[in-house]
């Protein structure tokens, strides 16, 4: 009798393959999710646009300096020469949309990464030290959350003369870190009360070790999911700010500037608006779907 129990005790539980880890389980789940595969396919396409746009369209077609844009072709409808039509300057809308992906996606990625790093750092400090540190940081977060998002970005970008990608990234990060910080803070407080933190402390671990080795890895999960989802939203916000003339400015262009340029010609040439808007929507959607699929796979409670 006790021999059998000892056997059970010294062997691994018989459920599942031996190599299962938390991330392994998540990947096992992800592979079975059609949402994941759709978003992954879309994102591979987006990645190609960002890294190797030359594979999809020649760069000359995006600039009048290289003879790609000719006013004679202004607002030309889709044809064999212009697959998705031409814009007011006579540029190929398809080629512009391909090359416009890079600034949009770079803004999204940078803003999401910076927001997560800053938010996680501040949330970790607030949650870990608690007391007055926490109260002070939490009130600052409340103040930032009171600022209307787009209005805040408009005011900031009008006041600070920092055109281009960095201005947009700065504005978006400055207005978004409080949400990330609040999320991390809550998870940190939860992890801080766990017995494994107490065990580390009783081993004589320093605060830094406890924060980095024990608390952060257990508190960062949800903010990674939120980062993926907000990456899509940041791309949309970049388009909004560029549309308003506060983001990326000519001669640079992005999906946002293309949409802004297209507004006057919409009824004559709807493709000038619909094509970049379509690219934008699909990219944002892909990131949001990916975020959802990842969060479902990482959360054992949502597993089927």
């Amino acid at each position: 009798m006790s021999d059998i129990q000892l056997d059970v005790e010294t062997s691994v539980r018989p459920d599942g393959p031996a190599s299962r880890t938390l991330l392994g389980d998540a990947w096992y789940d992800l592979r079975r999710s059609w949402i994941f595969w759709i978003s992954a396919a879309l994102l591979v396409f987006v990645l190609v646009m960002v890294v190797f746009p030359g594979l999809l369209a020649p760069q000359e077609s995006t600039s009048s300096l290289t003879g790609g844009c000719q006013l004679a072709n202004s607002l030309a409808p889709p044809s064999s020469q212009f697959k998705l039509g031409a814009d007011q300057q006579g540029c190929d809308v398809y080629a512009l949309s391909i090359y416009g992906a890079r600034p949009s996606v770079i803004v999204g990625v940078l803003a999401a990464v910076l927001t997560t790093i800053i938010g996680a750092g501040i949330g970790l400090i607030a949650g870990f030290f608690g007391g007055k540190v926490d109260s002070t940081i939490s009130r600052i977060i409340d103040i930032f959350l009171g600022v209307p998002y787009i209005l805040g970005a408009i005011v900031l970008l009008s006041a600070v003369d920092l055109p281009g990608i960095w201005g947009v990234v700065l504005a978006l990060t400055l207005l978004s870190w409080p949400t990330a910080a609040r999320l991390v803070r809550g998870k940190v407080i939860e992890a801080k009360g766990q017995d494994y933190t107490l065990a580390a402390r009783s081993l004589g671990a320093s605060n830094g070790r406890i924060m980095v080795r024990h608390i952060l890895p257990n508190a960062i999960g949800p903010s990674i999911v939120v980062a993926v989802i907000s990456l899509g939203l940041f791309i949309g916000a970049e388009a909004t700010l560029s549309y308003l003339g506060l983001g990326i400015r000519p001669p640079d262009f992005s999906w946002g500037t293309m949409i802004a340029d297209a507004q006057n010609a919409f009824f004559q040439a709807p493709w000038t608006l619909l094509v970049p808007a379509g690219f934008l929507t699909l990219t944002v959607l892909a990131f949001i779907l990916l975020g959802e699929a990842v969060s479902e796979a990482l959360d054992p409670k949502l597993r089927k």
């Binding site: 006790s2 021999d3 129990q5 000892l6 059970v8 005790e9 010294t10 691994v12 539980r13 031996a18 299962r20 880890t21 938390l22 766990q194 017995d195 494994y196 107490l198 065990a199 580390a200 402390r201 009783s202 081993l203 004589g204 671990a205 320093s206 070790r209 080795r213 024990h214 890895p217 257990n218």
Partner: protein
């Protein structure tokens, strides 16, 4: 308490109050939760002291204070002759090599994102001098072997183990620094009974092989009986009875101890039916507002006016058996509530 053996722990006048505050911006203290209220005890080299009592009696708080995890309100705790209550954080960290802790719940006491190798290896990262010339891998494998885990499993995660195996991981982590004292806070109460016996046997073997001293915190008197040399019964932050295991179990002098012993079931239906069970009435009073005099008087069937007026102090009723009661039970009274020791010894060994 034998004078020939060295004292490894000497606690005197230990007090821990948690303030109760009201208000958000201007916090005002409106009272104290008296978690531990003037407690004294000693533990000798190689000895096991069991602290027993209901939830909320202050036994776990006492354990945390012994490790210096929380500041004390008053009193002193000498670990191997040095008072830890006055130590700086840095000195305290170094002192952790002498005293370690095993926690109750093996499901929350192991970081789910770390492999067994990094959980058991972490003590060596914090105190590299404890490796004593070995590599970390060797040290981790030795420890796993020592606690009965297959060293092949070093790269697995806690969720791949059963409850008993996880608790062995916790024991290995506590042993890593070669401590002389281990505070075990309900180390088996989260485990199945069959697994409990295995972990208890491991703890007993380790004590004998390594000469460890244990402070064993538990509410389970059957488990305590297997391991304790001496017992301290706590009620509402105070020790009400303490002494060597035998007189405390066979003839408890404090009514509360008798009630606890009579509440523990006996695995023999005839004996169980024949003995007189004491059923306490009411709940444990709030530690924020304990009763005057004797704290147990509100639930005690022997309580009289004197118990409300005068706080009973611990006094010797013979052979190091101390009790804090004005009307202690006589051995004859006690005998009706307890049973002769069940022959168990090294419980349920194969």
């Amino acid at each position: 308490m034998s004078p020939t053996r060295d004292r490894v722990i000497a606690v005197s006048g230990l007090v821990k109050y948690y303030p109760i505050t009201r208000g958000i911006v201007f916090q005002k203290k409106i009272g104290d939760v008296r978690a531990v209220d003037h407690v004294d005890f000693t533990v000798a080299q190689g000895e096991t002291l069991a602290i027993v009592g209901e939830s909320g009696c202050g036994k776990s708080t006492t354990g945390r204070l012994l490790l210096g995890l929380e500041p004390v309100t008053a009193g002193s705790i000498e670990i191997l002759g040095q008072d830890i209550t006055t130590m700086s954080q840095k000195e305290l960290r170094a002192k952790r090599r002498d005293i370690q802790m095993i926690l109750q719940d093996p499901y929350t006491s192991l970081n789910p994102r770390m492999t067994v190798a990094s959980i058991i290896g972490e003590p060596f990262e914090i105190h590299p001098e404890a490796l004593a010339g070995r590599t970390k891998q060797e040290a981790v494998r030795d420890l796993m072997d020592r606690v009965g885990l297959n060293p092949e499993f070093v790269n697995r995660y806690p969720h791949q183990f059963s409850g008993g195996q996880r608790q062995r991981i916790g024991v290995a982590r506590a042993l890593a620094l070669k401590p002389r004292i281990i505070v075990a806070d309900e180390p088996v109460s989260a485990l199945d009974v069959s697994v409990q016996a295995q972990v208890m046997n491991l703890l007993l073997d380790l004590r004998d092989d390594l000469g460890l001293s244990y402070v064993f915190i538990s509410h389970d008197l059957a488990v305590v009986r297997q391991i304790a040399d001496r017992i301290a019964v706590m009620y509402l932050g105070k020790i009400v009875e303490t002494g060597p295991q035998d007189p405390v179990y066979s003839s408890p002098a404090h009514p509360y101890t008798a009630a606890l012993i009579s509440a523990a079931p006996i695995p023999d239906p005839e004996l169980q039916a024949s003995r007189e069970r004491i059923e306490l009435e009411g709940d444990v009073p709030s530690p924020a507002d304990p009763p005057s005099g004797c704290r147990f008087r509100t639930r005690c069937w022997k309580a009289q006016q004197r118990c409300a007026d005068e706080e009973p102090l611990l006094r010797d009723v013979g052979g190091g058996h101390l009790v804090a009661c004005h009307f202690p039970l006589t051995p004859e009274e006690a005998a009706s509530h307890v049973v002769p020791e069940v022959p168990s010894g090294h419980a349920t060994d194969s």
